[in-house]
Structures are given as C-alpha cells and as structure tokens.
Symmetry: C2
Subunit: 330 residues, 2 copies
C-alpha cells in the first residue's frame, strides 16, 4: 500500500487538521472530531448537519460553510461516526431553530444519527432527519437496507443549505430536503478498487478487463461485472436504470452530475458527460445545470457515477443561491 | 488498460466536447481544436493564451474564462500542440492590444509556440511569450532544456489573467507574468505511473514500495527513487529543495499550493498540506492563501506536488481578483 499518510490511525485527524489550516470557512474540534463553520452563529437559522465514514471527500466537510452545512462529522474511513460526535455537531449547528440531519442510507449511519437525534432532544435541540437513498443500482446492499445514499447527497445538501440560509423554518428545510431526495437518482461504475488505509489491501478484486456496474461508494457489490467496454456503452448502462426509475418527460429539466470516484482523470469524466448530454438531448430533457468533478469519492477508486435530479424553478433558485464552502464548483 | 474512453484517438476531441457542453463560460472550435471564452471580445484587452499536451486537466482549458485565459490549446495527450491551433488561439484571443502566450518549458511547446508567434506577427497580432519553469527537481530533463514548467503555471495564469482583465497594457501583463514566474517554485512526487491512452501501458514502472521524488508531469524521471515513507518525510523532501532555491525570509508571504496528480485522494493532499503549513509556520513564513486540489494533473497518476509563490500586496490583489472559469477553487 502506497499512500501519502503518516499512520493509518491518524489519517482522519491529520487530514482534518490540514483541511482547516487550508480553508478559512471552517474550524474543527478534535475530541470527538467535528468540522464546523468558522463564522459566528446566525441566531434563528435552522442548523444543517451531515456526516458519515471518511474517504468520500470532499463529502461532507468540503460542504461546510455559508449556504450549505453548519457542521460535518467525519467518521473513521468507510465507517459510520458514533453518536457522540454527531451530538457534538448538532450542538455546534444549533442556532435555536432546530437542526436537520442529512443521512446517507447505510445501516450504521442511520442507527447512529438516530441515537444522536434522541440524545440531542434530551438537550432541547429539536432534530429532524432526512435519509438520502439515490442509488438505483441495488435494492438492498452489504451495509444497507433499502437503497444506498451516494452522490445525490451533495445536491440535497446544497438545496437544504440554501433553504436554511434564507431563513426557512425547520419544517420548510425538511420539506426542501425531502423533495430533493424524491427527485434524485444515481448509479456508478468502478474500474478499480480502493484501499482503506487501516486494511492495507484493495477492498475487492477486479480483473484487468472487467468493470463493476452499480458499485457502491465503499466498493460494495453492484449489479454485475462486465468486460471493459466503451465510455458511451458504460454511460448508457448507468443512465438507462436511472431513467427507468425517474419517469422523466420531454421538456423536463434536470441537474446532471458526472461524479469522479477519486482516481479518474477529468478528461474521462467529460467523455462520460458528453454521452449523457447527447442522450438527454435526444429525449428532449434539458440539462439546466451540469456538474463534472470529484464531489463524492471513494478514496482513489477509478470510476464514475451519474446523478440526475429533476428540478423546478424553486429548486434551481436554491441550487443557484450563493455559498462559500471549501469545495467549489456547484 | 481500463479507461472511460471510446477510442484513444478521440479522447481529446470528445473530452473537449463534453467540457464545453458542461460549462457555459467556454466554447470550442474543432479544426484545429481550441477552447475559448464564450463571452464577446473585450475591445482593447490584452489576450492571454496557454496550452500544451492534454492529460493535465484542468490545465489549461479549465482556466479559460473571465479573469484568466482567453483561449487554451489542448494538444494530443502529453504531446505539444502544433503551431496551427496555437495561431488559431492567438486570433481568437486577440482583442487589438496584443496577445501573451504562457508556455510551460518543454522543448516541443517552446518551439511550437515560438513558430505560432511568428505566424501571428505576419497577421499583425503582437505576441509576447512568457516561459514558466517552476520545477526545481532537475536542471534539464527528458523533454526539456532548463527547468520544467509544472503546477506553478496556474498561479502565473491567474495573476496575468487578472492583470489583463483590469486593462493592463501588453508590457504590463508580461511584467506581471514574469514576476510571477520569478517567484514561483515547485516539486512533485509520484506514487504510481499513469497510462497514456494511445500507448496503452504505464509510462514507467515503480516497485510496490517505491516512490519517485522530483517526478515530471509526464512521468519523466525526477531526482531519485526512494522507499515509500511517511507523508511528512516525503513533504519535507519536496519542500526542502524548494526552500533552498527561494531564499525566503521570516515574515515573507507565500501562496502555497498542494496539487494532486490526478489519482490521489484529497485526504492525502490535506495531510501533505498539514505538514507544509507546520514547516512554514516554524520558519515564520506566512501562508497568505492555501490551495489544495487537482489543479495540474498527470492523468490518473498518484502523487502530489508542492508549489510556493512568494507574493506581495500587488500580487495578492491579482490573485484575489474575481474570475469565472470552469475550474473553481483558486
């Protein structure tokens, strides 16, 4: 295993230390580890918290800042954070108007955020939870009952964050987030595995000429393994299940996201985007906003995911609202 | 070779097609391939052109837009563009006040940009050239007489682009760019090689426990191969030669860039940044602006480079000037 780390046990902490040193929008507390906004609390604003296992950067800490999250909880690599840091994040995010947890649908995350929500209620913080489950690849999975939460999470965080920033109530922010979840679908492909630092070997094996369609962001199994084929063919095999699930109509508008898994050259992501744009144009579905880049990764995995979110004017207004977070490009 | 491409011969063109489909700031012409701003020409503004072999995205096309480049020339992967597309870019970038070419110091690039400059002069476009040679690793290299141009190029493009945008004259833009070049130094490390699509196999071999210090952005040889060691030790081995070359004094200010080579998880880049920030703090050198991310890549290579640019108030004002390009985060 070759990684630019000092020790597997220090990866998350040292990475967070570097992260807050580089970005003025964020600060961190370390026992337990929580990343939060450096700006003063905005009285009466709904707080927004997300988190999960590390290794998916810039998710979630990269999205902490004005217009998006108030705090993010980076768990151990590919492992849910325990309730303690989530509770600490809720306290940091609480501006007196309640807190929304945005939770990717993995069993450990759901359980621990749920426990943290109960603990927060004991401390008079009203907490509501929104579960993101945008991955159409599989119904249940290795770590999940129901569909997994993947790259669509970023779009949910953007819309809910903008709603909270403009002063929406707790109910209204939850409504925005749930509408975003209801309208977002994703699916991914892996060309190679990634190596979790404390494991020290690749999380699965793929043959030299094989890719896995429907991969999860922790390398958990997808739909099928197929021989390597063209970018256009692979794009189609990700897009078709998404379209089959969404019931999009001609003249519908979408936000289209081609997400890199961490180790994919951006030129390849744009070749995927090219095919996606052609396909949607043929269907007379309008890409209102197009995003290409590493938004939700799996360490150094090579591969990509497609995400489509059906949007209306109200959602686009939230997507376009100003934000200032370490990660740019939304 | 597993890549999300359709055919090696179509990689650059299809990637550019996806790129301009995703980003409203840019358009492309295809015969020959040039990426240019979509906004109307600004009469009297100095034009700024850069380019080079593809495979280093987002360099250069990602930096086309208001406040940075007017046009970028993506050559074949890791291969200099010929004079024709460079001349075409000069014409697109010419707003009547002359054009500056920003050229990374590789023999092919220097030769072809030079020829294009001569051809442009025949068409009454005044062209000036600035050569970037920020890599302290080696004096001459596989494709270079003198030092190579690497990630510092982005900072040169940002400062020169801001100067052109505010209405500086041709002489003034060249002066800004040359001052930027004089104050920027870089050095990189590779943990793994990358594969050029039309070659189909990795561009060099590294043992499982070996890294190459001083690597070039095309995988050309660096200073030495060493056993894999800690992120802190490797960071020191990149930083020390940079510091030895720069003659920084206590209380000097720098822009510090930790650049990913394409396949490196961002968590690792932040661990490198952490060490860099600690070392500079110990020397009482102030990081005025910190950047961490994939700014100048080598396809899917795993590794990183450090760049320091010594800055004064005038340079920081240019660095902070607004810009709107497909790549964000400067």
């Amino acid at each position: 295993m070759k990684k630019l780390i000092n020790s597997p046990k220090d990866v998350v902490r040292e990475s967070v230390e570097g992260f807050v040193a580089a970005h003025t929008q964020v600060e961190a507390q370390y026992d337990p580890i929580v990343v939060h906004r450096s700006e003063p609390k905005a009285h009466g604003k709904v707080g927004l918290v997300s988190g999960g296992g590390s290794g998916h950067e810039p998710l979630h800490a990269g999205y902490v800042g004005s217009g998006m999250l108030d705090a993010a909880v980076p768990g151990p690599v590919f492992t849910s954070p325990t309730p303690d840091p989530i509770l600490a994040a809720a306290k940091l995010a609480d501006h007196g108007a309640g807190v929304v947890f945005i939770v990717k649908n993995y069993t450990g995350d759901v359980l621990n955020f749920d426990t943290a929500a109960e603990l927060a209620e004991f401390e008079d913080i009203e907490v509501r939870q929104v579960i993101v489950n945008d991955d159409v690849a599989v119904e249940d999975s290795l770590y999940t009952a129901g569909r997994r939460g993947v790259a669509g999470t970023v779009l949910v965080e953007k819309l809910a964050g903008a709603a909270a920033e403009r002063g929406d109530s707790l109910d209204q922010v939850v409504e925005v987030a749930e509408k975003a979840v209801a309208n977002v679908r994703s699916m991914g492909v892996a060309l190679s595995a990634c190596t979790v630092p404390h494991v020290g070997k690749p999380s699965f094996d793929l043959e030299d000429d094989e890719v896995e369609i429907g991969i999860g962001i922790h390398g958990e199994p997808g739909r099928k393994r197929i021989p390597m084929s063209s970018a256009d063919s692979i794009t189609d095999q990700l897009l078709d299940p998404i379209l089959a699930d969404m019931n999009l109509q001609a003249s519908d508008r979408v936000i289209a996201l081609v997400n890199g898994m961490g180790g994919t050259p951006s030129s390849e992501l744009y070749i995927v985007y090219r095919r996606l744009a052609q396909r949607l144009e043929d269907l007379n579905i309008h890409i209102a906003r197009g995003l290409v880049g590493n938004f939700v990764t799996s360490l150094e995995m090579q591969g990509a995911s497609l995400t489509l979110m059906k949007v209306d004017d109200a959602m686009l207004e939230l997507f376009d609202a100003p934000y200032d977070t370490p990660m740019k490009g939304l």
